[in-house]
Symmetry: C2
Subunit: 338 residues, 2 copies
C-alpha cells in the first residue's frame, strides 16, 4: 500500500497525521464576531504590543503557535519544521515570527490559501517519514493589508460592495505522525493556478471561485467520494459572492451542495459588522479552522470536514499592469477527533 | 530503514530522487559573463518578449521549465507538482508562470534561498511516496528587483561597495523518484531563520552569512560528514563579503574550507562586470546550479556538491521600520551523475 496518489491531484497518506494542537488569535473586530469567544488570544488595539501592524502579525503568529503547542503538550524544540506564510510583501510576518522560534523553516506564499498549503505540506512530509511533529501557521492583518494592497487607512477610502474585509487573525496547527487519537488529515488535493480572467481586484471572491470549484471537482473525481461524504465543505475566503458562484457551478452540474459554507461568511456577523462581501486574508481561514472547525470536530458536531482555503495570486503591481487575478485552492480532508 | 531524520535538521531519503532535467535562462549581462554560453536561453533586452520586467520573470520561468522538461523527456502533464517562488511582492513571477503550466502548485517564499527550499521540498515529497515527477523553479530580474527593493533604475542611484547585483536569470530542475541513473539528492538540511542584527539592507552578504554557517555546521554535525566529503561546497548568494565571512567562521573553528565557493562569485566576471560584491537573487543560485553545477556533475568534474542557497527574509517595509535582516540557508547534497 503505502502513501498514494489518487487520480491527478490528490494524495492519500497510508498513516494519516493527527492534529494534536491548534491555536487562534483575533483582533478587536474579530473578537466582536460570532467566533470571538473561541479565540485563544484577542487584542483591543490590534497592535498586540508591537510598534507596527506588520510586527503585530509576527506577534500574532507567535501567540497562535504557542497556544497550539500548549494544547499539544510540546515546545518549539519538539517541532521538526515550521511551515508558514502571510500576505505581507516578502512574507515578513512569518519570517520574523520564525526568527524567534528557532525551528527549521519553510516559507510559503499561497495568498489566502496558505493555511491549506502549509497543512498539505506538513501532512505529506510527516507521512512521508520525515520527522515527528510539524506546525502550520498563517496570519493576516486588516491594517497592514489595506495599506499594502489598497490605500492607507488614513485616506478613508470607500469600499466596493464586492470588497472583503481582511481579517486581523492568525491560526496555528500542530501535526504529528505518532499514533494518536484525534483529528487526522486523510487526503490532500493540491490545487492548480486557475484564471478565468477577472480583472477587478476588489472582487476576489469571483476571481478565486473557479479555483475552488476545480479543486473540489478534482477531489471528488480523484477519490470517488461524493460531496455528501463530508458533513461540511468549507472554502475560504470566497465571501458572499464567491461562495454563491461555487454553489451555482455545482447546481449547474446537477449536483447542488447541501453542506457547503465559506470561512469568509463565518468570521464576522454578516448583517451587523459591515464587512460587505465577508472576511478574507490568510488569517481568516486559519482562525476559522482553529476557533471553529477543529473544535467542532473534537466535540463531535462534525465527523468529516473538507477544508479548502482559496488564494488570489495577484499583486498591486500585476493589477496596475492590467493582469487578471489568478486563484488557487487546496483541499484538506479532516476526519474524526470526537 | 526508510526515510530518516539525521540529527536536528537533516533528512535523508532511503531512495534518493534523481535530477532528470535542468534548464537555465539568463539576461544580457548574465549572457556576457563566464557562464553565458551555458544558458539554454538568453535575451538581449531583458524583456523576453513581455511588456514588463515582472511579466518577463514569468516568461523566464516558463523557458527554464521547458528546457528542463525537454532534457527529462517529459511534458507538463507528467509533473505531479511544481514548487516555485521568486522575489516579487506576492511572488507573481511564479504565480503567473504556473497559470500557464496547469500543474498542482506550491508557491514558496525563501528569498534568494528559494531554489534550495523548492529542491528540498520536491525531494522530500517524492521520496515520501507522493507522485513520480516534480519541478523546482525560481527566477529573479535586476530591473524588477531594483525598483521594488531600492529605487527605480531611472534614478541612476549609486550602489554601495557591499551591494550585490540581482541576477536576471531563472533555473528549473525536474526530479523523479523512478529508479534512474544520474545526479541524486542524497540529503537535505533545512535551515532556521538566523539573525545576527545586521541592519544594512545594502549588505545582504553579511546578513545571510551566519545562516549559511549555521546550516553548514548543522549539516556536518547531523551527518557526521566532514567538509572534504564534498568536492565543492557552494553557498548562494553571499557574494564576496558574505562568503569571506563564512570562510572566516570555519577558519576560526580550526576547520578551514578548501573546497568552498559562492554562486554570487560565479555568475559574473568579478573584475570586469562592475557588480561590486557579486551576484544575488533567486535566479542567481538557480541559474548557477543549472548552467554550471549540474553540468559539472554530469561531466564528472565533480562527484559530490553541497548546494546551499541563502536568502534574506526582510522587506523594504521592515527595513524602514528599523528591523534587522534575518537570513536562511538550506543545504542540498547532490551526488553522482557522471
Amino acid at each position: 500500500m503505502g502513501n498514494q496518489k489518487l487520480g491527478k491531484q490528490t494524495f492519500q497518506p497510508e498513516l494519516p497525521p493527527t492534529v494534536i494542537g491548534h491555536g487562534s488569535v483575533g483582533g478587536k473586530k474579530e473578537s466582536a464576531g460570532p467566533l470571538g469567544r473561541h479565540f485563544d488570544h484577542t487584542c483591543q488595539d490590534d497592535l498586540f504590543g508591537a510598534k507596527s501592524w506588520e510586527q503585530a502579525e509576527s506577534v500574532m503568529q507567535g501567540l497562535a503557535l504557542d497556544a497550539a503547542l500548549k494544547r499539544a503538550g510540546l515546545h518549539t524544540p519538539d517541532l521538526d519544521y515550521l511551515l508558514a506564510g502571510d500576505l505581507l510583501n516578502q512574507c515578513i510576518g512569518s519570517g520574523y515570527a520564525a526568527r524567534a522560534s528557532e525551528v527549521p523553516f519553510f516559507g510559503l506564499y499561497g495568498a489566502c490559501s496558505t493555511m491549506g498549503e502549509s497543512l498539505a505540506l506538513a501532512a505529506l512530509l510527516l507521512s512521508g517519514g520525515y520527522g515527528t511533529n510539524a506546525a502550520a501557521v498563517t496570519s493576516s492583518h486588516f491594517c497592514s493589508a489595506e495599506r499594502q494592497y489598497r490605500t492607507p487607512l488614513e485616506y478613508g477610502s470607500q469600499r466596493t460592495p464586492t470588497a472583503q474585509w481582511t481579517a486581523t487573525a492568525s491560526g496555528a496547527v500542530v501535526l504529528t505522525n505518532r499514533p494518536e487519537k484525534g483529528i487526522s488529515i486523510t487526503r490532500v488535493t493540491v490545487g492548480k493556478v486557475t484564471d478565468y480572467g477577472i480583472k477587478d481586484a476588489n472582487n476576489m471572491g469571483a476571481a478565486m471561485a473557479p479555483a475552488a470549484y476545480k479543486t473540489l471537482k478534482a477531489h471528488f473525481e480523484d477519490t470517488g467520494l461524493s460531496p455528501d461524504y463530508y458533513d461540511l465543505i468549507v472554502t475560504g475566503d470566497l465571501g458572499k459572492l464567491g461562495s454563491e458562484i461555487v454553489s451555482d457551478f455545482f447546481s449547474t452540474d446537477g449536483c447542488p451542495l447541501s453542506n457547503y459554507s465559506d470561512c469568509g461568511l463565518l468570521l464576522f456577523d454578516m448583517d451587523e459588522q459591515d464587512v460587505h462581501a465577508g472576511a478574507s486574508g490568510c488569517g481568516c481561514s486559519a482562525s476559522v479552522l482553529c476557533a471553529h472547525l477543529l473544535p467542532g470536530l473534537l466535540s463531535g458536531r462534525w465527523k468529516r470536514i473538507l477544508f479548502c482555503p482559496t488564494g488570489a495570486l495577484h499583486s498591486p503591481t500585476a493589477t496596475m499592469q492590467g493582469e487578471s487575478v489568478p486563484g488557487i485552492c487546496h483541499a484538506i480532508a479532516l476526519e474524526g477527533g470526537h
